[in-house]
């Protein structure tokens, strides 16, 4: 191992929706990848492994052949100009990238959808229809005495979720954790946290999660004489007695029609809030799509799955899903942005493809009609901002080392300039 410099201070991890700022990055002096210091997290470790200690000197490709950035921009702009209905998807970027992609999408009339869009729509549609009551990590850490994990304990998506929720933290003397319809393998890691004021139970009555939440709501509505299964009556009693009950779930782990589950959780919370206090915390998939949703919402008024189309600003939370559009041949170009996660590759399709991608995605984007432009990753090669999963804290990402690659924002701005020039 070559000599390494001291870990960069003030690093914010960009690899999951928790955006932790207590870990550090070790930069090697040789060819070794970036390494995690100051604690462990499997996602942060894996994320860093995809980056060398020195910025990649990677060139863009057009149809698999090396090209300069100028050539790649020109080729991509050509594709965009020729497209009658482009799809901008993935949207794995930061605030600056989303700010720059929005005018480009408007100029092209593109439909915009983030990676994991179906899951994002579970919470968005529930919000649009009925609203929500949510909480944030500091509230959970310091006050939640009952935490109900709905459908999964999503430490696969956010490995430090339990730590960030204060499980085992002295801020709350006794904390009860409930896994409601957990997946296989969810309970053991949770059970390992028991002791020292933390108690754990798993509840999986007959029937599915929809049914369970309906029963739970019924048990809360009629404390005496509910026909709900006994274990749910007991849970209802525990929730009523809690000072602050928090429901945590990952929409990505919910089944089809997960919006109904999100809505059912919110209904339970609303009922609890009549007499005590409760709130929800939904874990998004990270990688920037939730940030793009926030930015597009504030710029235009409309969240993702929208477009500036010939009839006006249109929002279609179901019809504008990426896979539906691709499967139905309703779009004729895919622009895919993914600057954080090397494994978030564009969905397979035969359409002209523009990828503003993680350098490690180069090899997967060499087909005909594909333009690949490697971009810097916020929090690794460039500064930036991403939203934490609770949607209220916008975390500043700091570059750990310089990078010659352009940011998504720079590429999108250049594309817009070129596309506008072609239209004139």
């Amino acid at each position: 191992m070559s000599e390494a410099s001291a870990p960069a201070a003030g690093w914010v991890c960009p690899f999951c929706a928790l955006a932790c700022d207590h870990l550090q990055v070790q930069i090697g002096s040789g060819d070794e990848p970036l390494a995690l210091r100051g604690g462990d997290c499997v996602r942060a470790r894996r994320g860093l492994q995809d980056f060398g200690s020195h910025g990649a000197e990677l060139t863009a490709t057009i149809n698999g052949h090396g090209a300069t950035l100028d050539e790649a921009i020109a080729a991509a702009a050509q594709h965009l100009s020729a497209s009658r209905q482009p799809l901008f998807a993935g949207l794995g970027t930061d605030v600056a990238g989303a700010r720059a992609l929005y005018p480009l999408a408007c100029a092209c009339g593109a439909v915009c959808d983030g990676a994991g869009g179906d899951a994002a729509m579970h919470t968005l549609r529930a919000l649009q229809d009925r609203g929500q009551f949510t909480t944030t990590l500091a509230e959970v850490r310091t006050r939640a005495d009952v935490i109900v994990f709905v459908g999964s304990v999503p430490t696969d998506m956010a490995p430090l979720l339990l730590e960030r929720c204060g499980v085992g933290d002295p801020a709350v003397a006794t904390r009860h954790l409930v896994a409601l319809h957990p997946r296989d393998g969810d309970v053991a890691p949770l059970a390992a946290r028991a002791g020292g004021g933390v108690s754990v139970e798993s509840i999986a009555p007959d029937g599915d999660l929809f049914t369970t939440l309906a029963w739970l709501d019924a048990a809360l509505a009629r404390p005496a004489g509910s026909a709900a299964p006994a274990m749910l009556c007991a849970l209802a009693e525990r929730l009523r007695a809690a000072r602050y009950a928090v429901f945590i779930g990952a929409p990505a782990h919910l089944p089809a029609h997960g919006a109904l589950i999100v809505e059912a959780v919110h209904r339970v919370i609303a009922r609890l809030n009549v007499g005590t206090r409760a709130a929800a915390l939904w874990l998004d998939g990270g990688n920037g799509a939730a940030t793009a949703n926030q930015v597009f919402s504030w710029l235009s008024g409309l969240p993702l799955r929208s477009r500036a189309g010939p009839h006006g600003l249109e929002h279609e939370p179901l019809a504008y899903g990426s896979s539906r559009l691709l499967d139905g041949a309703a779009v004729d170009l895919l622009l895919w942005a993914s600057s954080f996660d090397a494994s978030a590759l564009p969905p397979p399709c035969a359409l002209p493809l523009i990828v503003l991608g993680h350098p490690a995605q180069a090899v997967a984007c060499t087909r005909r009609d594909a333009v690949f432009i490697p971009v810097a990753t916020p929090g690794i090669g460039v500064d930036g901002h991403v939203f934490r999963t609770d949607g209220t804290v916008l975390m500043p990402l700091r570059a750990v080392r310089p990078d010659a690659l352009p940011s998504v924002a720079e590429v999108a701005q250049r594309l817009l300039h070129t596309v506008r020039g072609m239209a004139m």
Binding site: A9, G10, V12, D21, H22, V95, A96, R99, Y102, P103, C106, L124, L127, Q128, D129, R130, G131, Q132, F133, T134, T135, T136, L137, A138, E139, R141, T142, R143, R164, A171, R243, Y244, N273, T276, R277, A279, Q294, V295, S297, W298, L299, S300, G301, L302, P303, A308, G309, H311, G312, L313, E314, H315, D383, H385, G391, T392, V393, L394, M395, P396
Partner: protein
Amino acid sequence: MSSLLLRGARIVDPANTGSASPRDLGVRDGRIVEPVAGEPWDQVIEASGCIAMAGGIDLHTHIGGGKVNLARMLMAEDHRNAANPPPLPTNPLELPSCGCCAPGTLATGYRYVEMGYTAAFEPAMVASNARHAHMEMGDVPVLDHGAYVMLGNDELFLQWLAEGGPDARNFDQLRDYVAWTLHASKAMGVKVVNPGGISAFKYNQRKLDVDEAHVRWQVTPRQVVHTLARALRELGVPHPLHIHGSNLGVAGNIESTLQTITALEGLPAHLTHVQFHSYGTEGPKKFSSAAQRLVEAVNANPQISIDVGQVMFGQTVTASGDTMRQHVQSALGSPRKWVGADIECTAGCGVVPFRYREQSYVNALQWAIGLEIFLLVRNPWQVVLTTDHPNGGPFTSYPHLIRLLMDRSFRDEQLEKLHPEVAANCALRSIARELTLDEIAVMTRAAPARLLGLRDRGHLGAGAVADIALYRDAPNREAMFATPAVVLKDGAVVARDGRITATPVGGTFFVEPDYDRAIEKTLRRHWSQHGSIGFDTVPIGRDELCRCCNGGRLLPAACFASAG
């Protein structure tokens, strides 16, 4: 740099000379200058028949940050025309952006500028959401902006207040914490919302009167208000404490409002959206106007300023930090849905859609109370024109509101459409006052500039920033104020006849009062034990602020010499 002459406009500039006969107004390098005879000008705008005022300044409008974006996501129906999508802009300078009561930031900027406004202040920035709020404001084109950070419901402040006891033994610590928060969040002022009540709701307390103890910390709203107002005074922050009082929307809340004024013990403060805090309990419906009592207090306390939060009829959405009250109000929401949140041991938010109806007794009375306040306060310099956008109605209704205030016959016509018991009995019916152009100019630009300590804004004197709105003098004041002939921002034409002609990025106002840095050691420990991010991640530096605000100019506002 460029120069420009506005020729022959009638200057309405109450901060300087008041209304005067037509004269010329020079602009050089973005500032107003006295024109000298024979001087050459790059551009001359013939403005005879026009009225020139400083650009409008909205000192209380929810334009950016977490709850505003939640309001956008909640109000999907605000972003379509029935079943049709809102049309794309025909102006190539505008990017698509839609919404009336929950507009996108781009639409917010365009619509404000088209009305002659050149600055707007977000009044409810959550400290933990400050980067987001600055990002959104940076994406409001043209307008200069700033924000008030919310304090008085954060657990640390309440804990320290409790530890200091009734004599506030640790006041210096609290004051330094206020200063540090202003620095860290790059705020222009401090707002307190339902003092202590947002936190109390987290501990399941459902009501908090001014002298009632917070169930967890055993401190009262009276202590919170007084301590914050004193801290800002001692720090020399130009905008005094911005107060959203206790018991918003509750019949009889005038008592809380008057108690809040007494809690200040003569310290300056700004009471915001007072219309929502001026309710009595008289009459058959136990809901009545207490505008007269509020006005008497304002007239008797020249150190107090207010903005009204006028209710306008139609659909809107209320976006507030007051989780405790919004939870109750959610039962009255229309459409029936709402968003609430407990935020980072520092704040909360509640977003409830509302439709104010002329035939609703309560809504009609709210409308009348707001107008009564506008028309009864003696000194217009104590009053700022707001609808608490979007809570009383969207800011685009300002021209209509101005006509209501300037035109009694128009006002009486509207009154006739209301719930008959309100129309027949309200005091508004007998108020003959019609506000003058000078008074409107005070309430929409001169007073807000003065209350924010912005010496080179809100007026047209030599040296002032050339933010200017040129209105065509017309008897229909609604039409006149809806579509100025020309709007200048920093001396450049940004709108003509209601059409945007340039979209520069606005600047960001903030204050950086002095404080004893020793407090950071204590704060660091607190963040480690109670926070969800590291202490070093909290503050926004100037370079980062510039990136958040889209590269707009940083406009640090001077603090005055400490009065402490």
